[in-house]
């Protein structure tokens, strides 16, 4: 991934890295190659061969960053891409070849697009990650290994296609082993004894052992993409494209009896940038129009720049559709028909900001009510104690300065937020103690005596005194916890 723009294509160029005390060539352009320089040469040797060699210091961090960018770029082919440093990419194309009608068109399209961007490449498609890695590097420009054939064809490849440590590779070479086939023929016990990393790599390459690769996203068959010869610029065009993608994806989802709960659209710009928008739905859906609407509401975040070349749509969370029917049976009052509303609000305000009340088994005021998902099954229980409860509860009780004449009497006046209020009428106390299995030590201090009080203007407050009056202990504190109406 050399950046030859600054030199021009007619000069021999080499990228040089310092390895130990020597400076070696790590990459070259075609002209340098034609004139006899090879990667691995020492810089002094290379200069002797090509005196006018232009050299650039290797920047490994920039290379790694460029590789990550390229892995995002490659998500137009499959959502599941991963980097393979120093210069490789892994694409898990499970379920995605359908979009190109086969593996060969996909590979050709990938290589063509890379070369059009000035990135020379070699590629291979095989059953396992290791085999694809090997064929891409050692088997020429491009290779498609048919399913099941990789074992036979791997045996001709040189050993360095096995992703081994340099020391192991040197040891094996010293033993006269050159190809993977020769290593495969050796007894496993001997191999395991002498080289600890050969057998795992061999098994991974052959598909006998699992391989963990950090893919950006898992592979999915619920993926659609559209490529445009004329780059899209306007939001209307983008929306039309999204609608088309959503229709395609939803048709397949409905045929499979499934629905998506999360959809992600990727916009691949002509300037190699990737922008993404994602929406979630509360019920699994394959309603193309609804999905398009939700996505279109977020289109304003997409900056087309020089134009959008490829748009992808992926259902990243899938659920069977019968979940929805169960929900409908359970609902009273058409709650399920409100799913589109909940999706719109959830995507705009955040799904944790849309909820319904759920009853909890607690008499402690803060814990008696919890929040449930808007489409959760309603409890259908009777809410009790409502008459003596506030219409609004403060999320956190606020301390007040209260004056009470007797320990078990309501306050005669209290000051809250710097306003002094005289209590004209009061009811209480209603004693609420925390559940015995919580806060065992300070249970007597946590007891609350609640009073409903009314001030001179008619405003009603829900106050409580925390703890009891005890000899030697500091006097209990007063709090305001809500407003009654």
């Amino acid at each position: 991934m050399s950046n030859s723009d600054c030199v021009g294509p007619d000069k021999p160029l080499a990228i040089v890295a310092t390895q130990g005390s020597k400076r070696r060539i790590v990459a070259i352009n075609d002209i340098a190659r034609d004139r006899g320089v090879m990667p691995g040469h020492r810089l002094t040797d290379a200069r002797a061969i090509v005196p006018d060699l232009v050299t650039v210091a290797a920047d490994h961090e920039a290379d790694a960053a460029a590789l990550v960018t390229l892995s995002h770029w490659a998500q137009r082919f499959t959502p599941s891409t991963a980097v393979s440093p120093p210069s490789g990419l892994w694409l898990d194309i499970t379920g995605c070849t359908r979009l190109w009608r086969g593996e060969q068109p996909l590979l050709e399209s990938l290589m063509h697009q890379l070369e059009r961007r000035g990135i020379p490449c070699q590629a291979a498609i095989a059953d396992t990650f290791g085999a694809a890695w090997a064929f891409a590097r050692e088997a020429g420009c491009y290779t498609i290994v048919p399913p099941g054939a990789h074992r036979k064809r791997l045996s001709d490849l040189p050993l360095k296609a096995l992703r081994l440590e340099p020391e192991t590779l040197a040891d094996l070479r010293r033993l006269g082993l050159k190809t993977i086939g020769e290593v495969m023929a050796l007894p496993r016990a001997a191999l395991a004894n002498r080289f600890e990393d050969v057998l795992p790599r061999l098994d991974q390459t052959l598909g006998n052992a699992p391989e963990a690769i950090a893919f950006v996203q898992p592979p999915t068959p619920w993926f659609e993409s559209l490529t445009f010869a004329d780059f899209l610029m306007t939001p209307e065009d983008l929306q039309r494209a999204l609608a088309a993608l959503a229709r395609k994806l939803c048709r397949r989802l409905s045929e499979a009896g499934r629905g998506g709960k999360r959809f992600e659209a990727g916009f691949f710009g002509a300037d190699n940038t990737v922008q993404r928008i994602a929406i979630a739905t509360s019920l699994a859906t394959h309603d193309a129009r609804g999905i398009t609407q939700l996505l279109a509401a977020r289109l304003e975040r997409i900056d087309p720049g020089f134009g959008i070349e490829v748009i992808t749509l992926r259902a990243s969370r899938i659920a069977p559709l019968h979940e929805r029917q169960i929900a409908m049976d359970q609902e009273q009052g058409n709650l399920a028909t409100t799913a589109p509303l909940i999706d719109k609000l959830g995507n705009r305000l955040g799904f944790n900001n849309v909820w319904r009340f759920a009853m909890a088994q607690s008499h402690w005021p803060e814990r008696a009510v919890t929040q449930a998902a808007p489409l959760a099954r309603p409890s259908h229980r009777v809410w009790e104690n409502g008459a003596a409860r506030p219409i609004r509860l403060l999320s956190r009780p606020e301390p007040i300065e209260a004056t009470a004449f007797l320990p078990d009497r309501p306050p005669v006046q209290f000051r809250w937020r710097r306003v002094l209020r005289r209590v004209r009428r009061a009811e209480g106390p209603e004693r609420i103690a925390p559940e015995w299995w919580r806060d065992e030590e300070n249970a007597p201090q946590a007891i609350r005596d609640y009073y409903c009080v009314e001030d001179e203007s008619g405003a009603r407050f829900w106050l409580y005194r925390e703890g009891l009056y005890q000899n030697g202990a500091p006097p209990p504190r007063w709090f305001i916890h809500g407003f009654l109406a």
């Binding site: 009273q332 009052g333 058409n334 709650l335 399920a336 028909t337 409100t338 589109p340 509303l341 909940i342 719109k344 609000l345 705009r348 305000l349 900001n353 849309v354 909820w355 319904r356 009340f357 009853m359 005021p365 008696a368 009510v369 808007p374 309603p378 409890s379 259908h380 009777v382 809410w383 009790e384 104690n385 409502g386 008459a387 409860r389 506030p390 219409i391 609004r392 509860l393 403060l394 999320s395 004209r424 009428r425 009061a426 009811e427 409903c452 009080v453 009314e454 001179e456 203007s457 008619g458 405003a459 009603r460 809500g482 407003f483 009654l484 109406a485």
Partner: protein, 257 residues
């Protein structure tokens, strides 16, 4: 020729009437009404309860203009009279307490809540809700509403036939709170004040509010003193300084605004 001209003028006039919406057009069927939770049929002020297909504004007053306590209670009592359908409540900071809503007859299972950060989000949530078929009513807590915004909501309500409620609160520290109040397309505008209990018995009596009907499209403004009865689950009119239900004829009409 003259005939066609008259026809066209008549058609235009109809169109103007439709746009202006001065009262309910004669040819249209009456929109469904939500019976006001006041037991007495108050024919002089409200022909048959609150019409659905409109938006209604609830204001607080004084200290309560910020918290909207009384208005929340009145809204809960009002929404409880809608028998079917889900409802949306677009909140700002604090949430209503479900057990108390249930005591007003409003099943908390029917309510969907969403928390909004500003007036824009509340109004947008309200609009989305009123457009949704399963939603019978939507209530939004907002600080400032322009005439255009309220007209937009009104038109959506009118088309869908559901009930929109704007719970007006004065959010302090917000620039919107200092803006000049604008006209509104609401069918009714209420001011709800907490009123002191006036019984001789100890303790707190039933919740008591003064309802000022500041504006009523096609009706007269008025002022009522009402008490909420948790047992009967309705509001009853009370006369000032007396603990019995007042007859309507005795209840003085007072123009407000």
């Amino acid at each position: 020729m003259i005939q066609t001209k008259t026809n066209r003028i008549a058609a235009l006039q109809a169109k103007v009437d439709r746009i202006a919406k001065t009262g309910v057009p004669k040819d249209q069927t009456e929109p469904p009404r939500v019976i006001l939770p006041i037991r007495h049929e108050n024919t002089r002020f409200m022909p048959a309860g609150l019409p659905a297909g409109c938006i209604h504004e609830l204001h607080g007053a004084g200290w309560d203009a910020e918290t909207g306590i009384a208005a929340s209670g009145f809204a809960a009592a009002m929404l409880a009279k809608i028998s079917a359908g889900a409802m949306l409540w677009a909140l700002r900071h604090d949430t209503p307490y479900a057990p108390r809503l249930a005591a007003f007859g409003l099943d908390p299972d029917r309510l969907i809540f969403c928390r909004c950060r500003d007036d824009g989000e509340s109004l947008a949530a309200l609009e989305e809700a009123l457009r949704t078929p399963g939603i019978a009513a939507a209530i939004g807590e907002v600080g400032h509403v322009t005439l255009t915004q309220s007209r937009r909501l009104h038109l959506i309500c009118e088309r869908a036939g559901n009930l929109g409620v704007l719970l007006r609160r004065q959010f302090h520290g917000k620039p919107a709170a200092r803006r000049k109040p604008q006209g509104s397309a609401a069918a009714t505008r209420w001011r709800i004040l907490l009123a002191p209990t006036e019984t001789q018995e100890p303790g707190l009596g039933p919740p008591r509010w003064r309802l000022d009907l500041l504006y009523c499209r096609g009706g007269m403004p008025g002022s009522f003193l009402v008490e909420w009865s948790d047992e009967a689950r309705h509001l009853r009119l009370v006369a000032k300084l007396a603990d019995h239900e007042a007859r309507l004829e005795q209840f003085g009409l007072r123009r407000a605004g």
